[in-house]
Amino acid sequence: MFRARSPWVYFINTGSCNGCDIEVLAIQSPRYSAERYGVLRVGSPRHADVLVVTGPVTKRMEDRLTMIYEQIPNPKAVVAVGSCPTSNGIFDGGYSLTGPLDTVIPVDVYVMGCPPRPLNIVSGILKAAKMLDSRRKGKGGRRTARFDEAMSKETTVDLKFQSSDNVPGAEE
């Protein structure tokens, strides 16, 4: 019962046009005030319970998305906000996409709209938070096949502290 009352949310934009991000920001405003349900925006995936994803998943963001998903401690839930993570939306068929969100990570709640209204996003987060109650802590470490693949190959994502000569443009 405690999990449903304090969903801490981590937002990630995987190639969205920023329309949904504006609406996601609005849920913290005095008008919609998601904090009254205990919704709190956190800056680290390790603090989060609910992952809110906007945008179709681009090839660049795929590895980063799976990595962030795996870093969220169990139990966790995923909310897809907008048409894009559900069906690629108007970007469908684009050369840089790896498909809708549910082909990359498991999705629990879809919030439709282009962009969806802020209250619908709040309602989606709360639905996902209710699902957390029935999930076990140890169970359902739903590691995706794509995550193992991303971890095994030489990825561009290096979580270690990069030295300055790795940063492009640092020579100048």
Partner: protein
Amino acid sequence: MIASIVVALVYAFVAALLLQGIRRIVVAHSQFRKGPSIFQAFYDFFKLMSKESLTPNVTSPLLFNLAPILSVASMLVAALIIPLAASTSAVSVGDLIVVIYLLAIPPIALILGGSASGSPYGAIGAAREVALLIAYETPFIVAMVTVALAAGSFQLNTISATAWISVLPLAAIAAIWTLPAAAAVQPFDIAEAPTEIVSGPYVEYSGPNLALLQLGQWLKIFLYASLIAAVFFGTAIYHFQPAVNFVIQFAIIVLLVSAFIAFWQATSGRTRVTRVLKYYWTVPTMLAIIDLVLYLAGVRYMHFLFGWAGL
């Protein structure tokens, strides 16, 4: 004695978490929002306790997992030494110096945990926590030493027999002024800074470890305010039934926290790291030192000003 220890620990836990709910409600209402439930901190705490705990590969696991326990344990000891809603503390072994040292342990646990987490954000947060700790401890310790000199004792039970705000008001102002920095909320949340260095020392913590680290911080806010209440407002007001005493003390703490932490938090942005040191080492430290010097010189200005009122 066992009963009073249990009562003090349970009261400190419940009050510290309720206080966070009240603080968030006050902040939300100041910003025309509705705010969470008053029990929100309980929901957050028990939710985090029921989650998985992750330890990153690059950490030193012992230090990383020890820091949250250290933080909570030191605060539980402090809860027994500070007089909470009674004329005496639960155990009479400690004094003011022990309490001042114990209140510095949660930040030190944050520094240890942040440094051990192997994250650059954790390291930056730990460095900032050091700066913050040095900044607000100075005026606080000078104010407390002034009171101890005036009382002629470091024993909290002896000190808190008098309401020292009526004798040393400048020291009281200096001590209360350090509350927002001790609470590490908005103007002084430089070490956490969620929008800047993603929660600093907390960044790699998850689940029960995060819950304990936050509980240590919440207990610290409550006990810091309790210490200020006990020293400057005295414990002579707690001569009713125990239940009434708890309500009186909690009301004082809520007033202190709402006025000096929550309202300030709701209406200001984050300050720069370097400015905190300058801020606390000028006016609050000077106020405390003025009171110290005047007391040592034998100037009883409150008696001079308000002698007709019997002070």
